[in-house]
């Protein structure tokens, strides 16, 4: 591996042997995005290996589901991925609805999609913002968080909470849109869209920033599929797959949106910059989706009639949704009682963690931070 003309292997063979050191990055480290630990073996600044050590944020959420019942588990799904809690809500609601065969009112589907897409924007804003911060630019982070605050305000009006929404219910949503939500939402989207360009000009197309991202941690499409990368990480490697479009659910088939795919616009296909730009483009696509939804939303009820004692028939169900971190799978086995027999959540961050060991070989320590940020790892989602 050659870095800046500095060939580690050659130096070692010629007798300038250097001792490897083991660095312990995390669980408490400023940029591991939660409590995530890496055991780094490094030769000076160049890593020979970075092994992720997960499990510091394990809260056995799947086991809790077996104790609190179908309705009561909904607030816990917020905690699966607290950066993008709406898609988790939706995943749990959808798997229960699939188990019991419940039809969701159309207005509720629209509410769900609006909430999810707003949440996707806010999650991607965190992703691109922390990317800037991990590379040393603090201002883009605060600008991204400022916009996220606006979205949080909107979602707070919608469901009363800013982070752990608990907005959706089995069979619909808990609250209808507030009376002036559509105007406020549209006004916000109008205000927000030009700011994406400003953000790009400030940081995305900055030469130093690009140099830090381009050609770092290149993952080919085949590798990405083999390692089961999902969502923006997968699309960043040029694989055109989006659950919203390819395994349609909810009202996504009726909406017009593009699926941004990385195409190696600056350097190699599948590098950190591609994954980063896919997220920026997805923010723009989400704006489009929200605009359509807010304009088309039909009247009607937002909650189907569901018994308080929810007992789905014996069986199992698996649903896939496109969370902010990609394909999220919810699996639930019912034994016909009030409590689920088994729940399993399949999350994107966990599989993305597995590829870090492979892509980090030969990178520098500073690059590990870039790689972690480019995968948009969220520690609670890894461990659940």
């Amino acid at each position: 591996m050659s870095l800046g003309g500095f060939d580690v292997q050659v130096l070692r063979e010629n007798g300038f042997a250097t001792e490897e050191m083991t660095l312990n990055m995390g669980p408490q480290h400023p940029s591991t995005h939660g409590v995530l630990r890496f055991v780094v073996r490094a030769d000076g600044e160049v890593m020979t290996e970075a092994v992720p050590d997960v499990g510091y944020l394990h809260r056995s959420i799947e086991k809790i589901a077996e104790k609190v019942g179908y309705h009561g588990f909904m607030p816990y799904t917020d905690r699966v991925d607290y950066v993008a809690a709406m898609p988790c809500n939706q995943g749990w609601a959808m798997v229960c609805e699939k188990l019991a065969g419940i039809e969701v009112p159309r207005r509720a589907e629209y509410c769900r999609v609006i909430a999810c897409e707003f949440n996707r924007i806010s999650s991607h804003l965190i992703a691109v913002g922390t990317m800037g911060m991990d590379i040393g630019a603090f201002t883009p982070f605060t600008h991204a968080l400022r916009e996220r605050e606006h979205i949080n305000d909107l979602l707070e009006e919608l469901c009363g909470a800013r982070l752990t929404f608990n907005y959706m219910r089995i069979g619909g949503v808990a609250w209808d849109l507030p009376p002036d939500f559509a105007e406020k939402g549209l006004a916000y989207i109008d205000r927000f869209e030009p700011l994406i360009d400003e953000y790009n000009a400030l940081i995305s197309f900055n030469k130093i920033y690009k140099e830090r991202l381009i050609n770092v941690a290149v993952i080919t499409g085949e590798e990405a599929i083999n390692y089961n990368l999902v969502g923006p990480n997968l699309r960043g490697s040029g694989v055109d797959f989006d659950v919203r479009r390819d395994i349609p659910y909810s009202i996504y088939p009726e909406l017009q949106f593009d699926v941004p795919v990385g195409h190696g616009e600056e350097g190699t296909l599948g590098d950190c910059f591609d994954r980063y730009m896919v997220r920026i483009r997805e923010i723009q696509e989400s704006c489009k989706i929200i605009r359509q939804c807010l304009q088309q939303i039909p009247e009607g009820s937002v909650l189907a009639k569901i018994p308080r004692k929810f007992k789905p028939p014996v069986g199992d169900a698996y649903v896939r949704i496109e969370s902010a971190r990609g394909d999220m799978g919810w699996y639930c086995v019912s034994d016909g009682s009030e409590y689920p027999y088994r729940v399993k959540v399949r999350t994107g961050s966990f599989t993305a963690t597995s590829i870090i060991e492979q892509v980090s070989r030969g990178l520098m320590i500073a690059d590990l931070i870039t790689v972690v940020a480019s995968f948009d790892l969220v520690a609670p989602e890894i461990d659940r």
Binding site: I135, G136, R191, P194, M364
Partner: protein, 400 residues
């Protein structure tokens, strides 16, 4: 300084009757102490407060606004807090080196003030090797940083210390090479001598002297930022990579001393840049009153120097951080060659360009500078318009 001492020991002066050999060191020490405690430490503190406020405004925040009017006394509160905190020395650390390191860092930075001018007569020591002296004593800082990194017995600190050593040593070269064109032009290394060779008007500054000194200014400023561990070259403390770099294990006052150096050093950078390229304390001779002139000179110099402190804050709020290998690439593949070209170019300029043409180029360069400023503000207006702001989103006052 000598004039001042002579006037003091003259008949009727405050030190009348004291021999010159005793009076000169006394006055210099007294003035040095005054500069350190009355100027350097407050300026470092105030810079820390101002940096936080400037950052905050750029980031749509407010910044410290509680202690004193507009939070102005925040730096005193922070200093007191850090003084009162426990000074932890890790048990595995090398105690002597660990305790010594921050002092070396601070000494290296305060010693530079010996040759930093304030007005045409106020300077602790107008050394005839002034600029060389400053370049030399800032080298002590790297010893302190390396010591801190090594003695902490922490791998993050070690990485930070080694990064810092590599960085400061490398960037001394383009910084030194960028001073050469000025030294060639003036034929002196004395800070006051360099300022005297310039005029008060922008076209008399070396900044606009010719394209080579223009480029040398940028090379010098960037290299100085790198030597001062400022973004985009703050990799030694790189908080997102190395936790806190070489000061990871420090706490309390020792920790503060590193930051005292960082913020105080900003003023030194500004002062050197002002001296070398921006005409220093030069003001038009508008009055005969020496006191009034001195105040005008001090104000001019301070404002120019502090403008670059502001620019450093602003750059820090804008740019991300480079990687270690890119840092070296920037230094050796870009800045050193450019600096050498500047040096040779200026030498050739002195040989071949006639005075009248040189004069025209000076005016042309000044005009170019004005055009850049105009383009800049047009871009600012463009961004404000694109952001689609409501009238209530504008807020011009610095007071919140």
């Amino acid at each position: 300084m000598k004039d001042l001492v002579l006037s003091l020991i003259a008949e009727g002066g405050a030190l009348a009757g004291v021999p010159f050999s005793l009076a000169a060191p006394l006055v210099m020490v007294a003035f040095g102490a005054l500069v350190v405690f009355g100027f350097v430490l407050p300026i470092a503190g105030i810079t820390s407060w101002l940096e936080r406020r400037v950052w905050a405004r750029i980031q749509s925040r407010i910044g410290p606004n509680r202690v004193g009017p507009q939070g102005f006394l925040q730096w005193l509160a922070d200093g007191l807090k850090n003084l009162l905190k426990e000074d932890i020395i890790p048990s595995a650390a090398d105690k002597w080196l660990f305790s010594l390191a921050p002092y070396l860092v601070v000494v290296g930075f305060i010693a530079t003030f010996a040759a930093v001018p304030f007005t045409s007569s106020l300077i602790i020591a107008d050394l005839n090797i002034g600029i060389l002296y400053i370049t030399a004593v800032t080298g002590i800082v790297v010893v302190g940083v390396l010591m801190a990194g090594w003695s902490s017995n922490n791998k993050w600190s070690l990485l930070g210390g080694i990064r810092s050593a590599a960085q400061i040593v490398s960037y001394e070269i383009p910084a030194g090479l960028s001073v050469f064109p000025i030294v060639l032009l003036t034929g002196t290394l004395s800070m006051q001598g360099i300022i005297r060779a310039q005029g008060w008007a922008p076209w008399d500054w070396f900044f606009f002297y010719n394209p080579f000194t223009f480029a040398a200014f940028f090379v010098f400023f960037v290299a100085a930022l790198a030597e001062g561990n400022r973004t985009p070259f703050d990799i030694p403390e790189a908080e997102s990579e190395l936790v806190a770099g070489f000061c990871t294990e420090y706490s309390g006052m020792r920790y503060l001393l590193f930051f005292l150096e960082e913020w105080g050093n900003l003023y030194v950078i500004g002062a050197i840049v002002t001296t070398l390229f921006l005409g220093g304390w030069q003001v038009p001779a508008f009055t005969d009153n020496p006191m009034l002139l001195a105040v005008a000179q001090f104000g001019t110099f301070f404002l120019k120097a502090y403008f670059f402190v502001f620019v450093a804050m602003w750059v820090r709020a804008t740019l991300p951080r480079v990687r270690v290998d890119q840092l070296m690439t920037v230094c050796w593949k870009y800045m050193v060659p450019i600096a050498i070209v500047n040096m040779l170019g200026t030498a050739a300029w002195m040989l071949f360009v006639p005075e009248t043409l040189g004069r025209l180029v000076q005016f042309g360069m000044t005009g170019l500078g004005a055009v850049v400023v105009v383009v800049f503000f047009r871009r600012v207006r463009f961004h404000l318009r694109r952001a689609n702001l409501k009238p209530s989103d504008y807020y011009y006052s610095p007071i919140i």
